[in-house]
């Protein structure tokens, strides 16, 4: 009797803990939105909502001037317009390339090379045989994943040193910075998201549609573009919307190539400032409690509302085909000229476009990596990596320490909460439950919030709580950033555990608690491991959320060892290499020494990203092998 009671109490107690974990995401979302709204109230009150939203001038330097009123100098309309324009351009360019790339990956990417070697050199023959064994499809998959994992600051440098010079040449030697550069960099950045989601959507289309079209005499290109792509359209539209959300929220890379002027654009090369870059540029000048600070929070609030609206619009995408209007009355003409002829040039052309896009992506990634490696490796020295860091000659050691701290602390908090929430969602929810769908909406919302918003929230809330910017504040902020990834990935793997295992456990008299911890969780280990690695990747690559929480400050090793002090993570350090010379002299661009350090840091980041991607790949392969 006593035993049964114990189990019952245990089960009931566990359930409430899991519910609390799951509700954390709701608290987080409300907390963030509420807090940012609260912090922006002074701005809305002093400046006026209308003046703020539709004012065309932003210049906080005029605050002390007698000629200007405070209501006139905080207008975000130009930045709002810039954000929209840059987003639209990048989604048109990047989205199109991504969709074609996905088509290439699904329909035309060959599995293997088919090289032939007729000569007698054994070494060459061996090499060719090895070369032919390479699985091209999975390599292309990895290329897309690696592109997704590269920190956005590295894209910023890529934009600055590759794209901007090319644009500058096109612009007749004038500057290449500005709206077009932003759009191109953003296009590359949203590409992996859109491409991989489109690929999933295309692969989810039943094989029978493809076969059915072929059996009606379609070529493969016709079947692909006339049947499979339209059948996947709701998935593709969702992918594009997520891409839009990402483009609107992207901060650092855009900041680096934007030029930074809060004006309406006049041409492809006019300097711009977007909502996100406005926050990151001016935040360092905002004093606590100033109108500027509140106005920046208000900018964040507008951005947040914009992104939430975009992400919520995914729910409006119709999932299923609905009948078209038209064809109401047939007016068949028995004498109509029905002559079947071979047609279909367009799909064939699209096929080559798809192949070209695939090649372009592969080339871009290889070029980016080679470019960083060639420029960075010569400047990697033992002293730069692990030497004693001073304010005049900073090294990476403090950044390694702070990055490590943030990874450990945020995982230690986010993993238990995330796993608990996932357990609630998958083990305790009933299908169709309202509570669960609400929680899931909030998790998705949290996942869609741009990291600059997390940075804003953390800079005021966590850094305020802890008495200033510090590594710990950065870690707390990152908990919010990685929580959705952990919940989703864990939940997916929990759901993949076969029902029969649970039934077997219950059948042997085990309680729910015991079943979850002894049977379900161990079988979902791979998913949790993947979530952990992905989270580490997110932390390593993050910059916008950390600049104003963990701080952007040259520091020493002893200082960095105390998590209550500010210390830049690796990616923030990389950003500093650009931002510091810019702050000293905006016209200067990147100083030579800073640039060398930047490339060396970028190499370190690339290596870490590649290792993390490899880890995910190995875990996934391990799971596949176990299953198959």
């Amino acid at each position: 009797m006593i035993k049964i009671n114990k189990t019952k109490v245990q089960d009931a107690f566990a359930k409430y803990i899991f519910i609390v974990c799951a509700c954390m995401s709701i608290v987080a979302v409300f907390g963030i939105i509420g807090y940012i709204l609260y912090a922006s109230v002074p701005a809305f009150r002093d400046i006026g909502v209308f003046n703020f939203l539709f004012g065309t001038l932003w210049n906080h330097g005029l605050e002390d001037s007698d000629r200007w009123d405070i209501t006139q100098i905080y207008g975000i309309l130009p930045m709002f317009v810039n954000s929209i324009i840059v987003t639209v351009m990048s989604v048109v360019i990047g989205g199109a390339i991504a969709i074609f790339t996905a088509c290439f990956m699904v329909f035309w990417c060959p599995d293997k090379f088919h090289l032939r070697y007729a000569g007698k050199n054994k070494a060459v023959a061996k090499f060719v045989a090895w070369f032919n064994k390479i699985n091209l499809r999975s390599i292309f998959d990895q290329i897309i994943k690696l592109l997704a994992g590269i920190p956005s600051v590295i894209y910023g440098y890529f934009g600055l040193s590759v794209i901007v010079p090319i644009l500058s040449a096109i612009n007749g030697g004038n500057t290449g910075l500005g709206i077009l550069a932003c759009s191109l960099v953003l296009a590359i950045m949203i590409l992996p998201t859109v491409a991989s989601l489109t690929k999933n959507a295309l692969e989810a289309v039943p094989e029978q549609y493809y076969e059915g079209a072929l059996a009606l005499g379609n070529t493969k290109a016709q079947a692909a573009f006339n049947v499979v792509v339209p059948a996947a359209r709701s998935g593709i539209i969702s992918a594009l919307i997520l891409g839009i959300g990402r483009a609107v929220g992207e901060t650092m890379a855009v900041n680096m190539v934007s030029g930074g002027r809060a004006l309406f654009p006049t041409g492809l090369f006019s300097f711009i400032r977007t909502l996100t870059t406005n926050i990151v540029m001016e935040m360092s000048e905002a004093k606590t409690g100033s109108t500027l600070e509140s106005a920046l929070f208000a900018t964040g609030f507008v951005l947040l509302v914009l992104v939430l609206l975009i992400n919520l619009s995914i729910n409006l995408v119709p999932k299923e085909f609905k009948g078209k209007r038209g064809h109401k009355v047939l007016k068949g003409d028995a004498n109509a000229d029905i002559r079947f002829v071979k047609k279909g040039l367009v799909p064939e052309i699209l096929k080559y476009v798809a192949i070209a896009c695939g090649a372009l992506i592969a080339f871009t990634l290889v070029y980016l990596i080679v470019f960083i490696l060639v420029n960075g490796i010569p400047h990697i020295t033992w002293n730069f990596l692990f030497g004693e860091s001073t304010r005049t000659t900073p090294t990476l050691l403090p950044s390694f320490i702070s990055t490590g701290y943030i990874i450990l602390i945020s995982l230690a908090i986010a993993l238990p909460i995330g796993i608990g929430a996932a357990i609630y969602l998958s083990e305790y929810s009933k299908p169709g439950s309202k509570v669960v769908s609400v929680i899931r909406t909030f998790i998705d919302t949290l996942a869609g919030i741009p990291s600059i918003i997390f940075g804003l929230f953390g800079s005021l809330f966590f850094a305020g709580l802890l008495g200033g910017r510090c590594t710990l504040a950065g870690a707390f902020t990152m908990v919010l950033v990685i929580l959705p990834t952990i919940i989703r990935s864990t939940e997916e793997s929990l759901r993949a555990v076969p029902m029969s295992l649970r039934e077997a456990s219950y059948g042997l008299g085990a309680g729910k608690f015991r079943t979850i911890f002894k049977v379900v969780l161990p079988n979902a280990f791979a998913g949790i491991a993947t979530a952990t690695v992905l989270s580490i990747g997110r932390i390593v690559g993050e910059s916008a959320a950390l600049v104003y929480t963990a701080g952007m400050l040259r520091t020493t090793v002893p200082n960095a060892l105390n998590p209550m002090n500010a210390a830049p993570t690796l990616t923030v350090f990389l950003y500093m290499c650009w931002a510091e010379p810019m702050a000293a002299n905006p016209a200067m661009g990147v100083a030579e020494v800073g640039l060398n350090q930047a490339y060396a840091t970028a190499v370190v980041l690339l290596v870490i990203t590649a290792i993390l991607n490899l880890l995910v790949y190995l875990i996934e392969r391990h799971v596949k092998k176990k299953k198959g």
Binding site: Q208, L216, N218, P230, L330, A336, V341, K342
Partner: protein, 282 residues
């Protein structure tokens, strides 16, 4: 002046050429009595031989059924007839399959033209996620028909041939996915009929359907017989007996018996075929 003759000669040649080009889809000549002639066909999936020296002549405008236990190669053979097995990796075909006077495994075979003339209906109904109208117009459109009047004509004719016109004429704009399974399958047949194929291959078309829908499809097959040649793979021996003119029995990749349906079912020559038909195995 002295070019005059050439100029006159050219138009006639030009006329012929576009005609050949325009009719590239009609490269097959179905005037003979034999629709399909399979000659010594071996088929391999990698190292596994799925078909062994198959030879058979399928007569025009008749229904030919292929029966046999699972894995005997009947579906495989069906798929070789319009080269759908090209999609299967590691699949290799040896021997000849002559359709409309051409070896369809010759290198220069135009797959579009082949499949326009040899339509296919699959085991599971596979209408596209479009309206009924667009489903039927799908193939005609890919073969260059854009005129609304012509498309309307095709839709009406195909649906009438498939005996679905009365059921569907008021819901042409509705999604095909909203139809019942049996209706979906008959729509797939109508869709195949839209480009006026000479041959329709059916791969267990009723295995996913209830008896009433099955009956409708069988009726449909019988009514189509004077216009198209039908080759049907079926698990259901009664079905073969009910609708087929000719029946072929397969076992382990070999064609054991082939003849008139009556003869195959009442007086099978081969012992294995008799055992299968009388239900001793399978």
């Amino acid at each position: 002046m002295f070019n005059f003759k050439k100029k006159e000669a050219q138009p006639s040649r030009e006329k012929k050429q576009p005609k050949e080009k325009g009719n590239k889809l009609e490269i097959f000549d179905f005037s003979g009595d034999t629709a399909i002639s399979v000659r010594d066909v071996d088929l391999y999936y990698g190292n596994f031989q799925a078909l062994k020296k198959i030879s058979l002549e399928i007569p025009k405008h008749q229904i030919t059924a292929m029966i046999g236990p699972s894995g005997c190669g009947k579906s495989t053979l069906l798929k070789t007839l319009n080269r759908m097995n090209d999609l299967v990796e590691g699949c290799r075909v040896e021997g000849k399959i002559i359709i409309g006077g051409r070896d369809i495994y010759a290198k220069d075979t135009d797959l579009s033209a082949l499949r326009k003339n040899v339509g296919m209906v699959f085991q599971k109904p596979n209408p596209f996620p479009m309206s009924v109208y667009d489903n039927i117009c799908y193939a005609p459109r890919t073969f260059g028909i854009r005129a609304k009047s012509a498309l309307d004509e095709i839709v009406e004719r195909s649906l009438k041939q498939a005996a679905m016109w009365d059921e569907l004429k008021d819901r042409l704009n509705k999604s095909a996915l909203g139809l019942s399974g049996g209706q979906q399958q008959r729509l797939c047949i109508a869709r195949a009929l839209a480009v006026q194929p000479e041959i329709i291959l059916m791969d267990e078309p009723t295995s996913a359907l209830d008896p009433i829908s099955t009956g409708k499809i069988e009726e449909l097959c019988l009514s189509l017989r004077d216009k198209v040649t039908i080759v049907i793979v079926t698990h259901n021996m009664q079905q073969a007996a009910r609708i087929a003119d000719k029946t072929a029995f397969f076992l382990l990749g070999e064609m054991v018996e082939y003849g008139d349906t009556e003869q195959v079912f009442s007086a099978p020559k081969d012992k294995r075929c008799e055992d299968y038909i009388t239900g001793r195995f399978g």
